[in-house]
């Protein structure tokens, strides 16, 4: 028996070494990232591969912009018309909000509340996105040397994108809201409702606002913003709009399907709140 197995073990020793190395790297990676440290192996691989990937991503975007009209001609025209109407509507709302904000600031001053500083936002380009079809993650070209930290918030002008979950000096991995491991406290922005739930991803283009009470006042068209509960994200960050509401699996509460404010498949640049 021994004489049969030993030659195989010798013959495939290199494969066994690679297997052992793979296991050790996995254990090492989990260990260092769990403690909030950077994995130097990941930093080294990204240091070599990320720059050319960034160039390819830029070329891919440029090509997409040049040829997109071929595939989206009529759709783009319709979208343009809808957006113009929306801009006109928002201009009116903006004026009303500015007025309300002025009153709000004056009242806060009168009541003696301390004004929070406006947080600094760091612009970042996307180096690679959804690199594995199974996971909704992004790699951005900002890392720990730019002041980005684990759990830093990532957003666009339209709304929340997700949070940083892994760092190297020059890059960061972002877990998008649509990933199955993502969960963020969400609240209905409408003043009459303010219902609170948890917005979870499921690797599709929609989010689910779960754990809403059975009597929650929520309907299609409601804007969902971060609740600030849990402390991961500041309150008021736009998540998306409710598309439909249904009873949950146990018929006790409600679950709402949410259309994200961010178009995750067309992201080109984001802002990080270090």
């Amino acid at each position: 028996m021994r004489s049969e197995t030993t030659p195989h073990a010798r013959r495939y020793w290199a494969a066994l070494v690679f297997l052992l190395l793979g296991v050790l790297l996995g254990v090492w990676h989990n260990r260092v990232t769990t403690h909030g440290y950077q994995d130097r192996t990941v930093s080294a691989v990204r240091g070599v591969v990320a720059p050319p990937v960034g160039w390819m991503e830029s070329i891919s975007h440029w090509f997409g912009r040049q040829t997109g009209w071929l595939f989206r001609g009529h759709a783009a025209e319709d979208e343009n018309r809808r957006l113009k109407e929306r801009v006109a509507q928002l201009e009116g709302e903006k004026a009303a909000l500015l007025e309300a904000q002025t009153n709000y600031s004056r009242l806060r001053d009168d009541l003696g509340f301390v004004h929070a500083n406006t947080p600094r936002l760091l612009a970042a380009d996307i180096t690679a996105r959804k690199t594995d079809p199974k996971f909704d993650t992004l790699i951005i070209n900002r890392g720990s040397r730019d002041g980005v930290r684990i759990n830093s918030m990532v957003r666009t002008r339209n709304g929340l994108v997700g949070r940083v979950f892994e760092l190297t000096p020059g890059t960061a991995s972002v877990l998008m809201l649509t990933d199955q491991k993502s969960g963020v406290g969400g609240r209905v922005q409408r003043a009459a409702s303010r219902a609170v739930g948890v917005c979870e991803g499921n690797n599709s283009t929609r989010l689910e606002l779960k754990y809403l009470p059975g009597d929650a006042d929520i309907k299609p068209g409601d804007l969902i913003v971060t609740s600030g509960l849990g402390g991961m994200f500041p309150p008021g960050q736009v998540i998306g709009t409710v598309e439909s509401v249904k009873p949950d699996e146990n018929n006790v509460g409600k679950t709402a399907q949410v259309h994200p404010a961010v178009e995750f498949d067309r992201l080109e640049e984001v802002y990080v709140q270090p």
Partner: protein, 168 residues
């Protein structure tokens, strides 16, 4: 340099190019949310052109690049590497015994290899939504199968015939 060294360098170059294309372009060529895994396809096809130890090395480096860019937020880094080593090693091990230079076989290898790799990954690192995971893997396997034959032809042109040594 020996022909084997030249071939190994070409295999490494093919894997690197596949990594760049996978990370930089593949997300843009998704169809209805289904995206190919060109890095895995190239590792599997390259394993057909290697012996078992070389195939394990291809799986290791393909997995390491993939995991460095795409490892999920909690665990899974090692699972991505190990799943690719095991399946690529299997492809290389079979190559030493039964393969012939055949494009159809390459398509089958990529299809089954993708499903096996993702299956091993799932066992090592279970995912929360089984249905979504299965749909994603099924779609990727299908996309990989569609691209397997042209990729095989490209690799064959780049590396030469499947075997460097004399047939058994």
């Amino acid at each position: 340099m020996t022909p084997q060294t030249v071939r190994n360098l070409r295999l490494a170059a093919a894997l690197l190019v596949a990594a760049l294309v996978q990370l930089g372009i593949a997300p843009s060529i998704g169809i209805r949310g289904v995206r190919p895994d060109l890095l895995l396809s190239t590792a599997l096809l390259s394993a057909m052109f290697s012996e078992a130890n070389g195939a394990a090395a291809l799986g290791f480096f393909g997995g390491l690049i993939h995991a460095s860019f795409a490892a999920p937020s909690a665990g899974g880094f090692g699972s991505l590497i190990v799943s690719r080593i095991l399946v690529c090693f299997g492809v290389g091990w079979l190559e030493e015994r039964i393969y012939r230079d055949n494009g159809l076989l390459a398509v089958v290898i990529v299809g089954i290899g993708t499903l096996l790799t993702e299956g091993v990954f799932f066992i090592l690192s279970p995912q929360r939504h089984l249905g979504h995971w299965a749909r994603s893997v099924g779609g990727t396997a299908f996309y990989n199968v569609v691209l397997a034959y042209p990729l095989y032809l490209l690799l064959r042109r780049w590396l030469g015939p499947l075997r460097l040594r004399e047939p058994y």
